[in-house]
């Protein structure tokens, strides 16, 4: 992304497919209309990112996605002065650009960012609704259509990282979880092209493995993993091999856990 290239929503692209699990679409539309910041909470691979892509398409807004990490600084979000051959110029960061141009700014896995970085969002998400840029003294008033959305996984790295209470209370929270069996099988079928019966078996297997969530699995298998497994199977890989490589192995290195999950795979598929 460069400073001269305007953000635009490419309406011509295909609609990102999303199967609503409840009234999250209506709630998000209301939040967008009222300029409320939204927090998407849920386990990894349950459809948070797909949801925001779908909503950006639906609301005809550009989407600026910022993957958060430990080294993300406030300058990375807001912008910085750059030294060029003809002088020093200010370059907006992605958050500032999204605010200026009325885009939806999506901070993915916001708990990965340091808390002092996340604080820059506060003025944008309360009654002030401005983005102060301390280095230039400017106060950016977001353009109509701007919306701040963050996502995080409450179960991930819970011992080490969490959002400050003062940050949490600035967002409307939408809780995401894995859909029911039929809906999840439909998603796997749609995204991978696998037959319905195998998609159903995969989801049944995943739900059994999810029961081990409190038995040493750091993360339970996501819908994303199921789609990856199904894609391998559609490509001609034996379904058991596909499950072992795409579904079981990424989840754990604990020998007993991995063996138990492999046993489940063998027991589920003929």
């Amino acid at each position: 992304m460069t400073a001269t290239e305007p953000l635009r929503e490419d309406r011509a692209r295909a609609e990102p497919w999303y199967l609503p699990a409840g009234n999250e679409v209506e709630i998000f539309e209301q939040c967008h209309a009222r300029g409320l910041a939204v927090m998407l909470k849920g386990p990894t691979g349950c459809g948070k990112t797909r949801f925001i892509e779908h909503m950006a398409w639906r609301l005809e807004r550009p989407l600026v996605t910022i993957p958060c990490h430990d080294d993300l600084t406030a300058s990375d979000l807001i912008g910085r002065f750059l030294i060029r051959h003809d002088g020093t110029v200010w370059q907006d960061g992605p958050l500032t650009r999204a605010a200026r141009e009325g885009a939806i700014c999506y901070l993915d896995e916001v708990v990965e960012a340091r808390q002092d970085t996340v604080v820059v969002l506060h003025a944008l998400t309360d009654h002030r609704r401005i983005l102060p840029i301390d280095k230039t003294g400017e106060e950016v008033v977001p353009a109509p259509g701007f919306q701040l959305v963050v996502s995080y996984n409450p179960g991930y790295q819970r011992m080490l990282k969490d959002l400050k209470p003062s940050t949490r209370q600035r967002f409307v929270a939408l809780d995401f979880d894995f859909p029911d069996v039929e809906a999840e099988a439909g998603i796997v079928e749609h995204e991978s092209g696998i037959d319905r019966a195998t998609a159903h078996d995969l989801v049944t297997l995943a739900r059994r493995i999810r029961a081990l969530g409190d038995r040493g699995l750091a993360e339970v298998p996501s819908t994303r993993l199921l789609i990856a497994t199904a894609l391998l199977a559609v490509g001609g890989i034996d379904i058991r091999s596909a499950c072992r490589t795409a579904l079981v192995s990424p989840l754990s290195d604990d020998a007993s856990l991995v063996e138990a999950m492999r046993d489940l795979v063998d027991a589920t598929f003929v």
Binding site: R158, M159, R208, A211, L212, R215, E259, A260, T268, F269
Partner: protein, 239 residues
């Protein structure tokens, strides 16, 4: 913020896993490659927890008590008696033998047999199989109802986990091979033993074995008057 108890739970789990792995690494290596229950207990526990959605304790089955002299005299037609520990459940726990006897040559087969035995007991625990036969009034009636219930439970197991059909067949062949010869049974029990052998030769999907049970029960209606109980088990009216 993370709750204090969550931090303690996480830390305790990591410490437990570390100590267990340390213990296993420093245990003397057994010359017998066939896995025992102790080697597979956690794996089976996790497997059952995933299938059932909740943990069910696994215990080591003990050999049956030696029959008293009175029992030998009064129940002389109940021979031969089991001398080895057998898988069992009381609906809340599962008992499995500490080792397989005879042990399969292939260690993977031993794992598979343990897995099927554990699943069989899990399904029976969930179905309340013991309660289903509690209305039997005679030993023969109880045995027949028990066999019918086992067939139904195995059919449910295969329906729930289709991949277990072949391992179930292997377990049945293993069980058939370890049963005493028919001559070891008193004459009155040989038809029942033949019926058991017939079940063990099948693939675990039910059907013909249950019809055979009905036929076996037909000539002795007075002794197998468990129609009421069987109606509950099979879900249909007796002929």
């Amino acid at each position: 913020m993370a709750e204090a108890e969550e931090v303690i739970t996480d830390a305790a789990r990591h410490v437990t896993v570390f100590v267990r792995e340390l213990w296993r690494r420093h245990q003397p290596v057994s010359e017998d490659p066939t896995p025992r229950l102790a080697d597979l207990k956690r794996r089976l526990d996790l497997f059952l927890a995933a299938v059932a959605g909740a943990s069910i304790p696994i215990r080591v089955a003990q050999p049956p008590r030696r029959p008293t002299l009175l029992k030998v005299l009064l129940e002389h037609d109940r021979r031969p008696r089991a001398r080895q520990p057998l898988p069992a459940t009381d609906g809340l726990r599962i008992w499995l033998p500490s080792r397989l006897d005879p042990a399969p040559a292939d260690p993977n087969e031993a794992v598979e047999l343990y897995r099927v035995m554990a699943l069989q007991q899990l399904v029976r625990a969930r179905r309340g199989s013991g309660l289903r036969i509690s209305s039997a009034r005679t030993p023969l009636e109880r045995d027949l109802l028990w066999l019918i219930e086992i067939c139904d439970a195995d059919a449910e197991l295969v329906e729930m986990l289709p991949g277990m059909a072949v391992p179930l067949q292997r377990l049945r062949r293993h069980a058939l091979a370890t049963r005493p010869p028919p001559e070891a049974f008193p004459l009155v029990r040989r038809p029942l033993e033949a019926f058991v052998a017939g079940i063990l030769k099948q693939d675990g999907r039910g059907g013909p074995a249950l019809d055979a049970a009905d036929r076996l029960a037909q000539p002795t209606p007075r002794r197998t008057s468990g129609d009421t109980a069987r109606r509950g088990v099979r879900g249909r009216e007796p002929p």
